[in-house]
Amino acid sequence: MVTTDWTQVSYEEGRQTLKKWRECGVRRSEEVVEIWEHVISRSPSSLGDEQWAVLEQVCIASLDAARVDLAQECIDLLHAQFPNSNRVLKLKGMQLEATEHFQKALDIYERLVEEDPNNNSYRKRKVAVLLAQGKRLDAIRAINEYLKIFLNDPEAWLQLSELYLLENDVPKSVHCLEECVLIQPLNSMYFRRLGDLRYTQGGADNVELARAYYERALKINPTDLRSQYGILLVRNPSGLLLKDFQSNNQIASTTKSPSEKKKAGLAAVDAIDNLVNRYQKISPKSNPESDGILNCLEAMKVTIGSK
Protein backbone atom coordinates (compact mmCIF):
# COMPACT_ATOMS: atom_id res chain seq x y z
CA MET A 1 0.00 0.00 0.00
CA VAL A 2 1.18 3.53 -0.71
CA THR A 3 1.80 5.47 2.47
CA THR A 4 2.56 9.13 3.12
CA ASP A 5 5.40 10.30 5.31
CA TRP A 6 3.52 12.73 7.54
CA THR A 7 6.70 14.19 9.00
CA GLN A 8 7.51 15.82 5.64
CA VAL A 9 4.22 17.46 4.65
CA SER A 10 3.74 21.23 4.46
CA TYR A 11 1.99 23.16 7.22
CA GLU A 12 -1.08 23.78 5.09
CA GLU A 13 -1.32 20.13 4.03
CA GLY A 14 -0.99 19.00 7.63
CA ARG A 15 -3.71 21.41 8.67
CA GLN A 16 -6.06 20.29 5.90
CA THR A 17 -5.41 16.62 6.63
CA LEU A 18 -6.20 17.02 10.32
CA LYS A 19 -9.35 18.91 9.41
CA LYS A 20 -10.46 16.18 7.01
CA TRP A 21 -9.84 13.41 9.54
CA ARG A 22 -11.60 15.40 12.29
CA GLU A 23 -14.67 15.84 10.14
CA CYS A 24 -15.01 12.27 8.93
CA GLY A 25 -14.04 10.85 12.31
CA VAL A 26 -11.46 8.42 11.00
CA ARG A 27 -9.21 6.78 13.59
CA ARG A 28 -5.61 7.42 12.51
CA SER A 29 -4.26 8.33 15.89
CA GLU A 30 -0.58 7.65 15.38
CA GLU A 31 -0.53 9.74 12.23
CA VAL A 32 -2.41 12.61 13.89
CA VAL A 33 0.27 12.70 16.57
CA GLU A 34 2.96 12.64 13.88
CA ILE A 35 1.46 15.57 11.98
CA TRP A 36 1.11 17.52 15.20
CA GLU A 37 4.61 16.92 16.48
CA HIS A 38 6.47 17.34 13.20
CA VAL A 39 4.40 19.99 11.46
CA ILE A 40 1.63 21.85 13.28
CA SER A 41 3.18 22.24 16.74
CA ARG A 42 5.80 24.54 15.18
CA SER A 43 3.21 27.27 15.32
CA PRO A 44 -0.19 26.31 16.74
CA SER A 45 -1.30 29.93 17.08
CA SER A 46 -1.32 30.37 13.28
CA LEU A 47 -4.38 28.13 13.33
CA GLY A 48 -6.38 30.87 15.05
CA ASP A 49 -9.49 29.52 16.76
CA GLU A 50 -9.06 26.21 14.98
CA GLN A 51 -6.21 25.39 17.36
CA TRP A 52 -8.58 24.41 20.17
CA ALA A 53 -10.34 21.86 18.02
CA VAL A 54 -6.96 20.57 16.86
CA LEU A 55 -5.71 20.31 20.44
CA GLU A 56 -8.76 18.27 21.37
CA GLN A 57 -8.20 16.01 18.36
CA VAL A 58 -4.50 15.58 19.16
CA CYS A 59 -5.30 14.91 22.81
CA ILE A 60 -7.65 12.03 21.98
CA ALA A 61 -5.26 10.69 19.33
CA SER A 62 -2.30 10.74 21.70
CA LEU A 63 -4.28 8.80 24.32
CA ASP A 64 -5.09 6.22 21.65
CA ALA A 65 -1.43 6.08 20.64
CA ALA A 66 -0.30 5.65 24.27
CA ARG A 67 1.26 9.12 24.47
CA VAL A 68 -0.12 10.23 27.81
CA ASP A 69 2.57 12.91 28.10
CA LEU A 70 1.39 14.70 24.97
CA ALA A 71 -2.24 14.35 26.03
CA GLN A 72 -1.39 16.07 29.30
CA GLU A 73 0.16 19.00 27.41
CA CYS A 74 -2.99 19.39 25.32
CA ILE A 75 -5.25 19.20 28.37
CA ASP A 76 -3.16 21.84 30.17
CA LEU A 77 -3.39 24.25 27.23
CA LEU A 78 -7.12 23.65 26.82
CA HIS A 79 -7.73 23.97 30.54
CA ALA A 80 -5.94 27.33 30.63
CA GLN A 81 -8.17 28.60 27.82
CA PHE A 82 -11.46 27.07 29.03
CA PRO A 83 -11.13 26.65 32.83
CA ASN A 84 -14.70 25.49 33.50
CA SER A 85 -15.33 23.46 30.41
CA ASN A 86 -17.04 20.06 30.66
CA ARG A 87 -15.55 19.16 27.32
CA VAL A 88 -12.04 19.51 28.76
CA LEU A 89 -13.10 17.56 31.84
CA LYS A 90 -14.19 14.74 29.55
CA LEU A 91 -10.67 14.65 28.09
CA LYS A 92 -9.34 14.35 31.62
CA GLY A 93 -11.68 11.39 32.10
CA MET A 94 -10.39 9.80 28.92
CA GLN A 95 -6.83 10.24 30.15
CA LEU A 96 -7.78 8.38 33.33
CA GLU A 97 -9.27 5.64 31.15
CA ALA A 98 -6.07 5.36 29.14
CA THR A 99 -4.04 4.93 32.32
CA GLU A 100 -6.55 2.31 33.55
CA HIS A 101 -7.97 4.40 36.40
CA PHE A 102 -11.42 3.22 35.41
CA GLN A 103 -13.28 4.08 38.62
CA LYS A 104 -11.96 7.65 38.69
CA ALA A 105 -12.93 8.07 35.04
CA LEU A 106 -16.43 6.75 35.75
CA ASP A 107 -16.81 9.22 38.63
CA ILE A 108 -16.06 12.10 36.25
CA TYR A 109 -18.51 10.82 33.63
CA GLU A 110 -21.25 10.33 36.25
CA ARG A 111 -20.83 13.94 37.26
CA LEU A 112 -20.89 15.12 33.66
CA VAL A 113 -24.06 13.13 32.86
CA GLU A 114 -25.75 14.67 35.88
CA GLU A 115 -24.81 18.18 34.83
CA ASP A 116 -25.74 17.73 31.21
CA PRO A 117 -28.12 14.79 30.70
CA ASN A 118 -28.68 15.67 27.04
CA ASN A 119 -25.07 15.24 26.02
CA ASN A 120 -24.79 11.66 24.83
CA SER A 121 -20.99 11.57 24.57
CA TYR A 122 -20.50 11.23 28.35
CA ARG A 123 -22.81 8.22 28.46
CA LYS A 124 -20.91 6.68 25.57
CA ARG A 125 -17.66 7.05 27.50
CA LYS A 126 -19.22 5.04 30.32
CA VAL A 127 -19.85 2.21 27.88
CA ALA A 128 -16.28 2.53 26.61
CA VAL A 129 -15.00 2.04 30.18
CA LEU A 130 -16.98 -1.19 30.50
CA LEU A 131 -15.60 -2.43 27.18
CA ALA A 132 -12.04 -1.60 28.19
CA GLN A 133 -12.56 -3.62 31.35
CA GLY A 134 -13.79 -6.55 29.27
CA LYS A 135 -17.26 -6.45 30.87
CA ARG A 136 -19.13 -7.28 27.72
CA LEU A 137 -22.52 -8.18 29.22
CA ASP A 138 -22.56 -5.00 31.30
CA ALA A 139 -21.71 -3.02 28.19
CA ILE A 140 -24.62 -4.62 26.30
CA ARG A 141 -26.95 -3.67 29.14
CA ALA A 142 -25.58 -0.11 29.23
CA ILE A 143 -25.99 0.41 25.48
CA ASN A 144 -29.55 -0.90 25.64
CA GLU A 145 -30.29 1.63 28.39
CA TYR A 146 -28.62 4.34 26.32
CA LEU A 147 -30.67 3.48 23.26
CA LYS A 148 -33.90 3.90 25.21
CA ILE A 149 -33.01 7.60 25.40
CA PHE A 150 -31.02 8.14 22.20
CA LEU A 151 -32.92 5.89 19.83
CA ASN A 152 -31.50 7.49 16.68
CA ASP A 153 -27.83 6.76 17.15
CA PRO A 154 -26.60 4.37 14.43
CA GLU A 155 -23.12 4.24 15.95
CA ALA A 156 -24.55 2.80 19.15
CA TRP A 157 -26.70 0.26 17.28
CA LEU A 158 -23.69 -0.82 15.26
CA GLN A 159 -21.60 -1.29 18.39
CA LEU A 160 -24.42 -3.27 20.01
CA SER A 161 -24.71 -5.39 16.88
CA GLU A 162 -21.05 -6.32 17.11
CA LEU A 163 -21.29 -7.13 20.83
CA TYR A 164 -24.18 -9.50 20.15
CA LEU A 165 -22.07 -11.18 17.49
CA LEU A 166 -19.34 -11.75 20.06
CA GLU A 167 -22.02 -13.41 22.17
CA ASN A 168 -22.93 -15.50 19.14
CA ASP A 169 -26.45 -14.04 19.02
CA VAL A 170 -26.92 -13.42 15.29
CA PRO A 171 -30.71 -12.67 15.37
CA LYS A 172 -30.21 -9.82 17.86
CA SER A 173 -27.25 -8.56 15.86
CA VAL A 174 -29.47 -8.50 12.76
CA HIS A 175 -32.11 -6.54 14.63
CA CYS A 176 -29.58 -3.83 15.56
CA LEU A 177 -28.56 -3.40 11.95
CA GLU A 178 -32.18 -3.17 10.85
CA GLU A 179 -32.46 -0.21 13.23
CA CYS A 180 -29.45 1.35 11.49
CA VAL A 181 -31.17 0.93 8.13
CA LEU A 182 -34.27 2.68 9.46
CA ILE A 183 -32.16 5.60 10.66
CA GLN A 184 -29.99 5.89 7.54
CA PRO A 185 -31.77 4.15 4.66
CA LEU A 186 -29.22 5.36 2.10
CA ASN A 187 -26.12 3.93 3.74
CA SER A 188 -25.08 0.93 1.65
CA MET A 189 -22.78 -0.37 4.38
CA TYR A 190 -25.72 -1.39 6.58
CA PHE A 191 -27.40 -3.29 3.76
CA ARG A 192 -24.19 -5.07 2.86
CA ARG A 193 -23.58 -6.04 6.45
CA LEU A 194 -27.14 -7.34 6.76
CA GLY A 195 -26.43 -9.43 3.67
CA ASP A 196 -23.26 -10.76 5.28
CA LEU A 197 -25.15 -11.59 8.49
CA ARG A 198 -27.97 -13.41 6.70
CA TYR A 199 -25.47 -15.37 4.64
CA THR A 200 -23.63 -16.30 7.83
CA GLN A 201 -26.87 -17.56 9.36
CA GLY A 202 -27.31 -19.87 6.39
CA GLY A 203 -30.37 -21.69 5.09
CA ALA A 204 -32.31 -21.05 1.87
CA ASP A 205 -34.49 -18.20 3.16
CA ASN A 206 -31.61 -16.31 4.71
CA VAL A 207 -29.46 -16.63 1.61
CA GLU A 208 -32.34 -15.27 -0.49
CA LEU A 209 -32.55 -12.32 1.91
CA ALA A 210 -28.81 -11.86 1.69
CA ARG A 211 -29.08 -11.58 -2.08
CA ALA A 212 -31.79 -8.94 -1.79
CA TYR A 213 -29.67 -6.94 0.65
CA TYR A 214 -26.58 -7.11 -1.58
CA GLU A 215 -28.63 -5.95 -4.57
CA ARG A 216 -30.00 -3.05 -2.54
CA ALA A 217 -26.48 -2.10 -1.44
CA LEU A 218 -25.30 -2.18 -5.05
CA LYS A 219 -28.17 0.07 -6.16
CA ILE A 220 -27.02 2.67 -3.65
CA ASN A 221 -23.31 2.17 -4.25
CA PRO A 222 -22.68 0.46 -7.61
CA THR A 223 -18.90 0.24 -7.12
CA ASP A 224 -19.03 -1.65 -3.82
CA LEU A 225 -16.69 -4.60 -4.28
CA ARG A 226 -17.96 -6.48 -1.24
CA SER A 227 -21.57 -6.53 -2.40
CA GLN A 228 -20.49 -7.66 -5.85
CA TYR A 229 -18.63 -10.56 -4.31
CA GLY A 230 -21.67 -11.15 -2.11
CA ILE A 231 -23.87 -11.65 -5.14
CA LEU A 232 -21.36 -14.16 -6.45
CA LEU A 233 -21.33 -16.05 -3.17
CA VAL A 234 -25.09 -16.39 -2.91
CA ARG A 235 -25.14 -17.69 -6.45
CA ASN A 236 -22.74 -20.27 -5.10
CA PRO A 237 -20.98 -21.31 -8.26
CA SER A 238 -20.22 -24.98 -8.10
CA GLY A 239 -16.96 -26.08 -9.59
CA LEU A 240 -13.94 -23.84 -9.54
CA LEU A 241 -13.29 -21.21 -7.01
CA LEU A 242 -15.55 -22.16 -4.17
CA LYS A 243 -15.86 -25.86 -4.65
CA ASP A 244 -14.58 -26.76 -1.22
CA PHE A 245 -16.48 -24.07 0.53
CA GLN A 246 -20.01 -24.91 -0.34
CA SER A 247 -21.36 -24.62 3.14
CA ASN A 248 -24.89 -25.28 4.28
CA ASN A 249 -25.98 -22.67 1.76
CA GLN A 250 -26.09 -25.09 -1.11
CA ILE A 251 -29.79 -25.70 -0.64
CA ALA A 252 -30.42 -22.16 -1.76
CA SER A 253 -29.76 -22.80 -5.40
CA THR A 254 -31.74 -26.04 -5.55
CA THR A 255 -35.02 -24.81 -4.06
CA LYS A 256 -35.43 -21.90 -6.44
CA SER A 257 -37.78 -21.96 -9.42
CA PRO A 258 -36.07 -22.02 -12.85
CA SER A 259 -36.90 -18.38 -13.64
CA GLU A 260 -35.55 -17.15 -10.32
CA LYS A 261 -32.49 -19.26 -10.84
CA LYS A 262 -31.88 -17.66 -14.20
CA LYS A 263 -32.28 -14.18 -12.76
CA ALA A 264 -29.79 -14.91 -10.03
CA GLY A 265 -27.40 -16.32 -12.62
CA LEU A 266 -27.62 -13.17 -14.72
CA ALA A 267 -27.01 -10.98 -11.67
CA ALA A 268 -23.94 -13.05 -10.85
CA VAL A 269 -22.59 -12.71 -14.40
CA ASP A 270 -23.13 -8.95 -14.16
CA ALA A 271 -21.29 -8.87 -10.87
CA ILE A 272 -18.37 -10.83 -12.36
CA ASP A 273 -18.19 -8.46 -15.34
CA ASN A 274 -18.00 -5.49 -12.99
CA LEU A 275 -15.35 -7.17 -10.87
CA VAL A 276 -13.30 -8.11 -13.95
CA ASN A 277 -13.47 -4.51 -15.16
CA ARG A 278 -12.28 -3.25 -11.81
CA TYR A 279 -9.41 -5.73 -11.58
CA GLN A 280 -8.27 -5.01 -15.13
CA LYS A 281 -7.62 -1.39 -14.16
CA ILE A 282 -5.16 -2.37 -11.44
CA SER A 283 -1.51 -1.92 -12.26
CA PRO A 284 0.55 -5.02 -11.43
CA LYS A 285 3.02 -2.71 -9.73
CA SER A 286 0.67 -1.84 -6.89
CA ASN A 287 -0.93 -5.28 -6.66
CA PRO A 288 1.16 -8.04 -8.27
CA GLU A 289 -1.46 -10.66 -7.38
CA SER A 290 -4.42 -9.11 -9.16
CA ASP A 291 -3.89 -11.25 -12.26
CA GLY A 292 -4.38 -14.43 -10.27
CA ILE A 293 -7.72 -13.21 -8.93
CA LEU A 294 -8.69 -12.11 -12.41
CA ASN A 295 -8.09 -15.62 -13.72
CA CYS A 296 -10.29 -17.10 -10.99
CA LEU A 297 -13.08 -14.67 -11.89
CA GLU A 298 -12.86 -15.44 -15.61
CA ALA A 299 -13.05 -19.14 -14.85
CA MET A 300 -16.09 -18.63 -12.65
CA LYS A 301 -17.83 -16.69 -15.36
CA VAL A 302 -17.48 -19.63 -17.73
CA THR A 303 -19.00 -21.99 -15.15
CA ILE A 304 -21.93 -19.75 -14.33
CA GLY A 305 -22.57 -18.78 -17.93
CA SER A 306 -22.76 -22.41 -19.01
CA LYS A 307 -25.54 -23.24 -16.57
Binding site: G134, L166, L197, Y199, S283, E289
Partner: protein, 196 residues
Amino acid sequence: MKFNVETQALPYSTIILHCLKYPSKGVFGLLIGHKKGDKVTVTGCIPLCHESTPLAPPLELATALVHGKFGASLVGVYFANANPSDTSLNMYAIRLADKITTVTSSPAILIQVMNERLVSDCDQDRLVAFEKDGDSWKETKTLFQGSNFLRALQTVIQKKLYRELADFENHLDNPEADFYNTNLSNKLVQIAELRS
Protein backbone atom coordinates in the same frame (compact mmCIF):
# COMPACT_ATOMS: atom_id res chain seq x y z
CA MET B 1 -0.59 -35.97 18.09
CA LYS B 2 1.47 -33.26 19.65
CA PHE B 3 2.66 -30.77 17.07
CA ASN B 4 5.81 -28.74 17.25
CA VAL B 5 5.13 -25.39 15.60
CA GLU B 6 7.84 -23.21 14.16
CA THR B 7 6.93 -19.81 12.73
CA GLN B 8 9.58 -18.46 10.38
CA ALA B 9 10.75 -14.87 10.63
CA LEU B 10 8.71 -13.56 7.70
CA PRO B 11 5.23 -14.72 8.81
CA TYR B 12 6.15 -13.94 12.42
CA SER B 13 6.96 -10.33 11.54
CA THR B 14 3.92 -10.00 9.29
CA ILE B 15 1.58 -11.18 12.05
CA ILE B 16 3.08 -8.68 14.52
CA LEU B 17 2.87 -5.88 11.93
CA HIS B 18 -0.79 -6.72 11.34
CA CYS B 19 -1.45 -6.29 15.08
CA LEU B 20 0.47 -3.01 15.12
CA LYS B 21 -1.43 -1.59 12.18
CA TYR B 22 -4.70 -2.02 14.10
CA PRO B 23 -3.75 -1.51 17.76
CA SER B 24 -7.36 -1.08 18.86
CA LYS B 25 -8.77 -4.08 17.04
CA GLY B 26 -8.57 -7.82 16.87
CA VAL B 27 -6.98 -9.29 13.74
CA PHE B 28 -7.29 -12.53 11.75
CA GLY B 29 -5.23 -14.23 9.08
CA LEU B 30 -4.35 -17.51 7.40
CA LEU B 31 -1.14 -19.51 7.85
CA ILE B 32 0.79 -21.07 5.00
CA GLY B 33 3.37 -23.76 5.66
CA HIS B 34 4.10 -27.46 5.62
CA LYS B 35 3.83 -30.43 7.95
CA LYS B 36 6.48 -33.07 8.31
CA GLY B 37 5.75 -35.71 10.90
CA ASP B 38 4.88 -33.82 14.07
CA LYS B 39 6.59 -30.61 12.96
CA VAL B 40 4.63 -27.74 11.44
CA THR B 41 6.69 -25.00 9.81
CA VAL B 42 4.81 -21.79 9.07
CA THR B 43 6.48 -20.18 6.07
CA GLY B 44 4.00 -17.45 5.21
CA CYS B 45 0.79 -15.78 6.28
CA ILE B 46 -2.07 -13.88 4.70
CA PRO B 47 -3.75 -11.15 6.76
CA LEU B 48 -7.52 -11.31 6.41
CA CYS B 49 -9.31 -8.78 8.54
CA HIS B 50 -9.27 -6.44 11.50
CA GLU B 51 -12.40 -7.15 13.46
CA SER B 52 -13.16 -9.65 16.18
CA THR B 53 -16.33 -10.95 14.60
CA PRO B 54 -15.58 -11.52 10.91
CA LEU B 55 -18.62 -12.74 8.99
CA ALA B 56 -18.69 -15.68 6.61
CA PRO B 57 -18.72 -14.03 3.15
CA PRO B 58 -15.31 -12.30 3.16
CA LEU B 59 -13.71 -15.21 5.03
CA GLU B 60 -15.07 -17.83 2.64
CA LEU B 61 -13.99 -15.77 -0.32
CA ALA B 62 -10.47 -15.15 0.95
CA THR B 63 -10.00 -18.73 2.11
CA ALA B 64 -11.18 -20.04 -1.24
CA LEU B 65 -8.78 -17.76 -3.12
CA VAL B 66 -5.87 -18.67 -0.87
CA HIS B 67 -6.68 -22.38 -0.99
CA GLY B 68 -6.86 -22.17 -4.76
CA LYS B 69 -3.38 -20.67 -4.81
CA PHE B 70 -1.65 -22.69 -2.09
CA GLY B 71 -3.73 -25.89 -1.81
CA ALA B 72 -2.63 -28.16 1.01
CA SER B 73 -0.08 -25.60 2.21
CA LEU B 74 -2.93 -23.85 3.99
CA VAL B 75 -2.16 -25.03 7.52
CA GLY B 76 -4.09 -22.85 9.92
CA VAL B 77 -5.30 -19.55 11.32
CA TYR B 78 -3.77 -16.78 13.40
CA PHE B 79 -5.66 -14.22 15.43
CA ALA B 80 -5.29 -11.57 18.12
CA ASN B 81 -8.02 -10.43 20.48
CA ALA B 82 -9.01 -6.77 20.64
CA ASN B 83 -8.61 -6.42 24.38
CA PRO B 84 -4.95 -6.58 25.54
CA SER B 85 -5.63 -8.72 28.61
CA ASP B 86 -8.06 -11.09 26.85
CA THR B 87 -6.31 -14.43 26.36
CA SER B 88 -9.41 -16.47 25.49
CA LEU B 89 -9.67 -18.30 22.19
CA ASN B 90 -11.79 -16.48 19.64
CA MET B 91 -14.80 -18.53 18.57
CA TYR B 92 -14.65 -17.18 15.02
CA ALA B 93 -11.00 -18.22 14.70
CA ILE B 94 -11.88 -21.73 15.91
CA ARG B 95 -14.66 -22.03 13.37
CA LEU B 96 -12.36 -20.94 10.56
CA ALA B 97 -9.70 -23.43 11.68
CA ASP B 98 -12.31 -26.22 11.76
CA LYS B 99 -13.34 -25.29 8.24
CA ILE B 100 -9.74 -25.43 7.04
CA THR B 101 -9.38 -28.86 8.65
CA THR B 102 -12.35 -30.06 6.60
CA VAL B 103 -11.13 -28.51 3.37
CA THR B 104 -7.52 -29.71 3.53
CA SER B 105 -8.45 -32.95 5.38
CA SER B 106 -5.52 -32.39 7.70
CA PRO B 107 -5.72 -30.94 11.24
CA ALA B 108 -5.32 -27.14 11.17
CA ILE B 109 -3.36 -25.26 13.81
CA LEU B 110 -4.33 -22.05 15.56
CA ILE B 111 -1.86 -19.36 16.55
CA GLN B 112 -2.80 -16.67 19.02
CA VAL B 113 -0.91 -13.42 19.54
CA MET B 114 -0.39 -12.71 23.21
CA ASN B 115 -1.21 -9.01 23.22
CA GLU B 116 0.46 -8.22 26.52
CA ARG B 117 3.78 -9.50 25.18
CA LEU B 118 3.73 -7.04 22.29
CA VAL B 119 5.60 -4.41 24.32
CA SER B 120 9.08 -3.84 22.95
CA ASP B 121 11.10 -4.91 26.00
CA CYS B 122 9.45 -8.30 26.29
CA ASP B 123 11.64 -11.14 25.07
CA GLN B 124 9.12 -13.93 25.43
CA ASP B 125 7.55 -15.55 22.42
CA ARG B 126 4.61 -13.41 21.32
CA LEU B 127 2.85 -16.28 19.61
CA VAL B 128 1.18 -19.29 21.21
CA ALA B 129 0.08 -22.25 19.11
CA PHE B 130 -2.89 -24.54 19.65
CA GLU B 131 -3.99 -27.83 18.15
CA LYS B 132 -7.29 -29.64 18.34
CA ASP B 133 -7.43 -32.47 20.81
CA GLY B 134 -10.82 -34.17 20.73
CA ASP B 135 -13.34 -31.37 21.11
CA SER B 136 -11.10 -28.83 22.77
CA TRP B 137 -8.07 -26.83 21.70
CA LYS B 138 -4.86 -27.47 23.60
CA GLU B 139 -1.70 -25.44 23.68
CA THR B 140 1.13 -27.05 21.81
CA LYS B 141 4.88 -26.55 21.66
CA THR B 142 6.40 -23.67 19.70
CA LEU B 143 9.98 -23.26 18.57
CA PHE B 144 11.02 -19.72 19.38
CA GLN B 145 13.82 -18.05 17.51
CA GLY B 146 14.92 -15.87 20.38
CA SER B 147 15.92 -12.32 21.03
CA ASN B 148 18.28 -11.82 18.10
CA PHE B 149 15.40 -12.14 15.72
CA LEU B 150 13.26 -9.81 17.83
CA ARG B 151 15.87 -7.08 17.39
CA ALA B 152 15.49 -7.30 13.62
CA LEU B 153 11.76 -7.04 14.10
CA GLN B 154 12.33 -3.91 16.16
CA THR B 155 14.06 -2.23 13.19
CA VAL B 156 11.10 -3.09 11.00
CA ILE B 157 8.71 -1.55 13.51
CA GLN B 158 10.80 1.61 13.81
CA LYS B 159 10.59 2.01 10.05
CA LYS B 160 6.79 1.92 10.51
CA LEU B 161 6.47 -0.77 7.85
CA TYR B 162 3.18 -1.88 9.40
CA ARG B 163 1.53 1.00 7.58
CA GLU B 164 2.29 -0.72 4.28
CA LEU B 165 0.61 -3.98 5.27
CA ALA B 166 -2.71 -4.79 3.62
CA ASP B 167 -5.28 -7.36 4.71
CA PHE B 168 -8.14 -8.82 2.68
CA GLU B 169 -10.53 -6.24 4.10
CA ASN B 170 -8.27 -3.45 2.83
CA HIS B 171 -8.30 -5.22 -0.51
CA LEU B 172 -12.11 -5.21 -0.61
CA ASP B 173 -12.13 -1.50 0.16
CA ASN B 174 -9.52 -0.88 -2.50
CA PRO B 175 -8.49 -3.73 -4.83
CA GLU B 176 -5.15 -2.01 -5.48
CA ALA B 177 -4.09 -3.25 -2.03
CA ASP B 178 -2.26 -6.57 -2.25
CA PHE B 179 -3.30 -8.80 0.64
CA TYR B 180 -0.49 -11.24 -0.18
CA ASN B 181 1.86 -8.33 0.70
CA THR B 182 4.43 -9.23 -1.96
CA ASN B 183 6.28 -5.91 -1.85
CA LEU B 184 6.25 -5.69 1.94
CA SER B 185 7.63 -9.23 2.22
CA ASN B 186 10.54 -8.35 -0.05
CA LYS B 187 11.39 -5.39 2.15
CA LEU B 188 11.17 -7.52 5.29
CA VAL B 189 13.54 -10.11 3.83
CA GLN B 190 15.98 -7.38 2.80
CA ILE B 191 16.07 -5.88 6.28
CA ALA B 192 16.58 -9.30 7.86
CA GLU B 193 19.49 -10.01 5.49
CA LEU B 194 21.12 -6.64 6.19
CA ARG B 195 21.15 -7.38 9.86
CA SER B 196 22.53 -10.87 9.71
